[in-house]
Amino acid sequence: MNEQKKDGLSGIVDLIWLNQANASFKEEEGFLSMDLDGTHYDRVLLSRCFPFDEPETHISVTDCDLKELGMIRDLQDLSEESREACRLELARKYFTREILSIEKIKERYGFTHWEVTLASGKKTFSVQDTYRAITKITSDHLLIYDVDGNVYEIKSVDALPHRSYRHLELYL
């Protein structure tokens, strides 16, 4: 169903808002499939418009050639089964590991070697050029990219244990 408001900017663009009335999603063999107004798509891809601020709203749905098929305004607009399938797909795409505490950051020869605790246990990784590799989403929320391109997240710098904060402070 095309939901088009004719006032403001929304009247200018053609955008299909996806909800449980027109779309359903399913997880099949590791892929997300979609049925939209009677058309079946074997595989669709999801992208968050605002991955940090709005993890469950404004989600773009594209085909494998990245042609946008529509947008989910809120996952709540979908049926429960679709919602869970989409959540799983989003978790796969935006795979990040949350750092709960930092045991040590050792700086050597242009690299920092991190020893951290994640929900899954202890982990070590190396970061090159902390200035670029640490992205501040807000002053409290950080993303850290290691040399392999893995992504780690600190959801709240303020909530870190004091010792962890002391290790990290130098790079903020």
Partner: protein, 737 residues
């Protein structure tokens, strides 16, 4: 069996659960996520018949005969092994980026097994070792084969010293001067205390009453110290500057040799900072750090020997507080370094906000955001100033404490030494010389603590610079290049595959031929790989497979000089060097006459605007001088290429930044120019390419369509759709083709 990942204990257990005959396993790799994206070791094992994927709890078996197109799909932070199985595409395994390379190789060799029934190991895949051969730990940066723990510092310093070899005479002189100065630094207090009191003032002294002698001696010592210090400082500064100059020349020469891939893998700004800051770090270590350290060592050793020689018990008492002092100094300096690093980071943030805001001043003003920008800057400025305050506070509170420690150790010498003097065990002069020496000993402690840090920074800097010097270009001239001073200009691409990054094909199976003197238009969406074709032809990069031929000769066999002389490229990225317009146009052909430059500029449509510049062809342009518009820059760049008079001309969006009227004028001139020379034109605007002898369409790295303008329109494929789109877009704005 080809083992692509380390066979961990966990992996062995999982493999055992598969109950396979070890000899049947042909391929093994380890993924690190399970289907639910939980971290869990998952083994990928291939036999000649099957592919097994198991995390120990769940095992999936895929018959290789039913498996098609296995590939690695990249996501953000993770990858997936995807394949078609029994006609349906599915995700077989998932992994973090840490396992990406191993799994990518797994897929490559799995393909080999499926297609050929056997695996032939390609040594190139294993040449880029990921692990330190000594400690078997992973390199922190796969592009930089340096293990921080096993780095051979001695050999790096040794290599640096070979640069210093030609100055060995001057260095020996400087070191000798430093050694004498250090010793004189100890003699001076001896003369003014022990010698003065015991030998000159004391009636029993050898030089009793000879004040003039002792004062002259003291003055001479001082003058000699000053002269020698000046001498060694001048030599050190001169020699260090010369060594660093040599090092920078070596580095620049190496950079010049390196191929494009080296630069695209690094930020050019970062590279410049690296060369500058590293060489400055090395320079200051040798000008400042090392001489101070060297003098300190000599002083400490000499003072220690002298004190022991004069009075052993008092020497021991005097030296007792030193370890505590060293510890306190180390603590203070460590924290101070931390504070400075923090301050540096905050200042860097403040400066980047400042530069961001100033560079975007037009936008700031246009959107009336001055207040917000001021607020943003104030926030960072306040943080930086807070840090400066902390440093000053720390300095003002800790250093008086350190001074107190020095004073306490002096007090100990006063008390014990005073008591010994009263007992007549030592003279008053001896007491005074001990007090002076305790003061001298405290100074070098700072130098010792700072030294380790300065040395680490210096060695790291050397290592990084040598790394650039040692980097080998991946596009190499053939060992026996074929000289081709004259070419006809026939160009052929034969089944060319190329990727900027491993595993992500930018071009696949590209084949076409352009007869000498003919023109070819390349059409396609942004990012389709059009400009890459031009980069490959002039060997900024080398093809992964297939070949590129000029007059039937593989470009890899041609001499670089001939190849780049006969091919000229005008790219969408124009770069003008700081210099005059004349110098910029004549860059490609410095021998060209001024009239030729004018002709080239006229053909490129640059002459008219150049003549409007205040100093005509001698107007300074480039960074910091006269600003040219995008279209003007592009015209200068075209003139530069025309002046080179190449047999093969590549125009890569050469007229993109110009208005339609100017573009038409230049296009006509270029068409005249392209007679009798092979021309490759890359453009978005299809009208620009309509007259090309043939056209190819590049779409997602492949070449789905080829033909003339009319033929491609008849095919009603991608070209036709693009043409229709552009036509209607032009009609919409009232322009008729």
């Amino acid at each position: 069996m080809l083992t692509l990942s380390q066979r961990t204990e966990g992996a062995e257990k999982i493999i055992n659960t598969l109950a396979l005959n070890p000899e049947d396993i042909v391929l093994f790799a380890l993924a690190d996520l399970n289907a639910r994206y939980d971290e869990q070791e998952t083994v990928l094992v291939a036999t000649k018949e099957n592919l097994f994927i198991s995390d120990g709890k769940q095992t999936k078996t895929y018959a290789l005969t039913d498996l098609q197109k296995p590939t690695i799909e990249e996501k953000i932070g993770t990858c997936a092994l995807v394949a078609e199985y029994q006609g349906k595409k599915r995700v077989l395994a998932t992994m973090t980026n840490s396992r990406k390379q191993e799994c990518r190789l797994f897929v490559k060799y799995l393909h080999m097994q499926m297609d050929k029934g056997e695996i032939t190991v390609d040594e190139k895949d294993f040449r880029q070792e990921q692990f330190c051969p000594k400690c078997h730990r992973r390199y922190p940066d796969p592009n930089r084969k340096v293990c921080p723990d096993c780095m051979d510092k001695a050999s790096i310093v040794g290599r640096f010293l070979t640069l210093a070899k030609k100055f060995k005479g001057q260095i020996a002189l400087a070191l000798a001067a430093m050694a004498i100065t250090s010793v004189l630094g100890i003699v001076s207090p001896y003369l003014s205390t022990s010698f003065f009191y015991d030998q000159v003032l004391d009636i029993r002294g050898t030089f009793y009453g000879d004040l003039l002698f002792v004062v002259t001696l003291m003055l001479t010592t001082q003058i000699v110290t000053i002269l020698l210090t000046m001498f060694s400082d001048i030599i050190t500064a001169k020699v260090s500057a010369k060594i660093i100059y040599d090092l920078k020349c070596t580095i620049f020469d190496s950079i010049r040799r390196l191929s494009m891939r080296f630069f695209t893998g690094r930020q050019t700004g970062g590279l410049m900072t690296q060369i500058n800051s590293d060489s400055n770090g090395i320079y200051w270590f040798f000008v400042n750090g090392f001489p101070t350290f060297f003098s300190s060592i000599i002083q400490v050793v000499a003072v220690f020997i002298l004190m022991m020689a004069i009075d052993i018990p008092l020497a021991i008492v005097s030296l007792l507080p030193l370890p505590f002092y060293l510890y306190a100094v180390a603590r203070v300096i460590k924290h101070q370094r931390w504070l400075h690093a923090r301050s540096y980071a905050r200042n860097r943030s403040m400066n980047s906000v400042l530069s961001d805001s100033l560079n975007g001043v037009r936008v700031v003003k246009a959107f009336a955001r001055e207040k917000e920008e001021t607020h943003r800057f104030n926030h960072y400025s306040e943080q930086a100033s807070e840090m400066t305050k902390k440093i000053t506070y720390y300095h003002n509170t800790r250093f008086p404490g350190l001074n107190l420690l020095i004073y306490l150790s002096t007090l100990i010498v006063w008390s014990v030494g005073g008591w010994m003097a009263m007992k007549g065990q030592i003279t008053y002069g001896t007491l005074m010389v001990f007090i002076s020496y305790v003061g001298i000993l405290n100074g070098p402690m700072f130098s010792f603590v700072n030294m380790s840090d300065a040395f680490t920074r210096c060695v790291n800097g050397m290592q990084r610079l040598f790394e650039i010097a040692d980097a080998s270009p991946d596009v190499l001239e053939s060992e026996h290049p074929v000289a081709m001073p004259e070419i006809r200009g026939e160009v052929e691409f034969r089944n060319v595959d190329f990727s900027y990054e491993k595993g992500r094909k930018t071009l696949e199976g590209i084949s076409f031929k352009i007869e000498a003197g003919h023109s070819l238009g390349i059409v396609g969406h942004s990012g389709a790989g059009k400009s890459t074709l031009a980069n490959l032809l002039i060997r900024l990069y080398d093809v992964d497979s297939g070949g590129i031929y000029i007059d039937g000769m593989n470009v890899k066999d041609m001499a670089f000089e001939d190849l780049r002389r006969c091919v000229s490229i005008v790219s969408q990225e124009t770069y003008l060097f700081a210099g005059t317009v004349l110098e910029n146009i004549a860059y490609a052909n410095p021998e060209a006459s001024k009239e030729d430059v004018i002709h080239a500029a006229r053909i490129a449509g640059a002459h008219d605007f150049i003549m409007r510049l205040p100093n005509g062809y001698q107007t300074k342009i480039g960074f910091g001088y006269q600003d040219l518009s995008g279209g003007e820059r592009q015209r200068v760049s075209i003139a530069r290429a025309i002046l080179k008079n190449p047999k093969i001309l590549i125009l890569d969006e050469a007229t993109a930044a110009m208005d339609t009227a100017t573009e038409r004028t230049i296009q006509e001139a270029l068409e005249r120019l392209s007679e009798n020379r092979t021309t490759i034109m890359i453009a978005h605007r299809l009208s620009t390419l309509r007259n090309a002898d043939s056209l190819i369409v590049i779409e997602k790295g492949k070449m789905p369509e080829t033909g003339t303008h009319v033929e491609l329109l008849k095919q009603k494929g991608i070209y036709y759709r693009l043409y229709q789109l552009q036509l209607s877009a032009l009609k919409n704005i009232g322009v008729e083709e």
